[in-house]
Symmetry: C2
Subunit: 463 residues, 2 copies
Amino acid sequence: MESEFPNLVSGIPEADVGLFTDLYELTMAAGYFREGMAAPATFSLFIRDYPPRRGFFIAAGLADALVYLQRLAFPPSAIAYLRSTGIFPEDFLDSLATVRFTGEVWAVPEGRAVFANEPLLEVTAPIIEAQLAETFLMNIVNFQTLIATKAARCVLAAQGKTLVDFGLRRTHGTDAGMKAARCSYLAGFASTSNVLAGKVYGIPIAGTMAHSYITSFPSELEAFRAWVRTFPDRSILLIDTYETLAAARKAVAVAQEMTRQGKRLVGVRLDSGDLVALSRDVRRILDEAGLTGVRIFASGGLDEDEIARLLDAGAPIDAFGVGTRLGVAADAPLLDSAYKQVAYGDRPVLKLSEKKATLAGPKQVFREYAPDGTLLRDTLARRGQDGPPGAEALLVPVMAQGRPLGPGPTLAELRQTCAAELARLPAAVRDLARPSRYEVRVSPALETLQARTAAAVRQRELG
Amino acid sequence: MESEFPNLVSGIPEADVGLFTDLYELTMAAGYFREGMAAPATFSLFIRDYPPRRGFFIAAGLADALVYLQRLAFPPSAIAYLRSTGIFPEDFLDSLATVRFTGEVWAVPEGRAVFANEPLLEVTAPIIEAQLAETFLMNIVNFQTLIATKAARCVLAAQGKTLVDFGLRRTHGTDAGMKAARCSYLAGFASTSNVLAGKVYGIPIAGTMAHSYITSFPSELEAFRAWVRTFPDRSILLIDTYETLAAARKAVAVAQEMTRQGKRLVGVRLDSGDLVALSRDVRRILDEAGLTGVRIFASGGLDEDEIARLLDAGAPIDAFGVGTRLGVAADAPLLDSAYKQVAYGDRPVLKLSEKKATLAGPKQVFREYAPDGTLLRDTLARRGQDGPPGAEALLVPVMAQGRPLGPGPTLAELRQTCAAELARLPAAVRDLARPSRYEVRVSPALETLQARTAAAVRQRELG
């Protein structure tokens, strides 16, 4: 998939892509340069642990990661800024002019389920290149995986009801608004309110009306009538501006006027109050007027918990607009992701930091399935090692010598991938409140490598 | 302040600025257009209530809001996309070609304290223009105010210690990373790890080294020595890769080698483990070697609570790197902001929605001060009304006829504004865990307007 905008990489101008990084990536690069260290290093991007109530993650962000790696460079304007800081040796600054990403990437395809400690992607490249990419790769994979996971939870809660992304106004900035639309669609949302995401990603766009439309008119009834004049084929009337049930009756009057003109009111929207009681009352008002085809749309602070609660309570709601709490993953707005070096040259490496120790060496994740097709268990193994018989190798090569291996799936294909994946998750792992911990084994060969590497480090550093 | 990038508005290409909006803004615009509604409307952007443990907000995002309003437009490529959706009448699409923002904006300057229900900004413009701006204005003001507020809390907790923004890798996308650097600096952080924010905003950049630098070398000691060779004047050694106290002793050895060469080790960084105990032990190891000038830098999951806890426990930490929990405002990642119509033409308007009712009419906030200079109380009043004697009018005109009134303050000036503002906050309001509710009165004239408008609405809509 190409970048969303020509000459932009996730909202960063191409000339500035190299500078979208933490300072220490550049100072470390200067350090490697000074020492003549140019061996390939492997870095592994993974999530250390589950946030509260999470039992799985949906991988996302790879397409943007690959765009970034193809654009990573330091044109003269970038080098001029770095020079102005006075931090860097001149020969290093000169060397940056020719830096490009020339390495390889193995990754879990977007839309697939991943679990704690499993690499989402592994980068192998001359160490300066692999190091410089850390900040952007973490930023873009972390956020998209966060939102795809949150959106997947909403999809599981919605039991087939229609979901629309309404998050744009309160996502954390503009790039988040674009990526949240992308990832919620990937996870199974039907559409987004984000018009630019419609243009850029081809996602269906949807929306109703705001309270301001109602308050701009001398009366609610006049507002409703004006709206259906403008959009006779796609009107959804917002009915909570003043008093919901009174407005529902006005909507009935307008719908009956439409019926006489051969038109049909599509729906009404509730945005506040007790949505269980109101949706029932509104449904009854509509049904008693013979308007059984008019849909009820709900919004206002919704998330997977509230959607599940509403549906469990039998609220006759047909579609949900999910906004802020999706767009910022409100109950768990961060993933404890890491991008850790696991090899330098031929040498497996690790760190032993308390509660943040890492597993050495490049890896593969092997996935086994139960006879009914649901996920059975994963095995974290050394890359190149054989997996259990019949197991699927989850990490696939996606870039070699700095070039993507193929065009990558379309967003529509990723959406199908994710839907299939959610269907294969064991029900206990999918549970929204108290998920079971999915089994991720460490292969004996990886265990051995880990023990040997850790022992060598301990002896060397503490002995 | 100008946009951060030429031809970009917060990461959105200028040609696409108009499409960065919720679909309903455009369908409502089509509705107003069809009905010939072009009177000026006033919209008020405010935060409905405090997130948990918040007693104040620091206003931010205005500079970007004003850039956006100057660039809002629909070039042919944008109109072509909208036409392709089949949603809009052709005459409305034609009319979009000449849409520009021609209205006025009153706003609370960035860096000032604001409280729940107080407008951060008010837009008055022909209704289509004011409506179209809703999504972007909310997005940009909401997030920057969120982060400036969170960063201000860290500044209050840090009691004058140095704070560095380390959030870039886990902010929600790229734009959030840029804005988080800007807003944390505005709120009093000393620097950021975000190199591009250094270039774009002129913020000092800072950083240390990652574990990968250590693990790239055959031993930790060799890594330390190589580092101080590259950066003899600015080395901060990361000492938790394997075992912190062993590494501290290696840092002492390296520091002593540096001393013999007339150089000085700047500091060491702790990134995991029990930071109270480790910082004490490391301080003692350094001091016993006569290295009393070597600073201790701490990072790893920090936020205002953890900073306060560390300092209360007497941890001898000189500087804090604050990352993810700042960059996503982890404990409260959303603000319940709203952009509500309060007038159309000469008519004050409001909505009555349950728990989301709004106050009618354009407003002013008057602020009174205690004799010692601390904030005493605010009064929410009708715009144009006189305030209490000697009170400060907080909302000031910043744009008229679509043009900004003056160049706006520099980021350095905003930083001074915020520092002065934090010093003026009553201690009880500033409290990080259980802030007192700052008094915000509603003026009698606004009360009267509200009661009269609500009564008229009730009679009209429910009577």
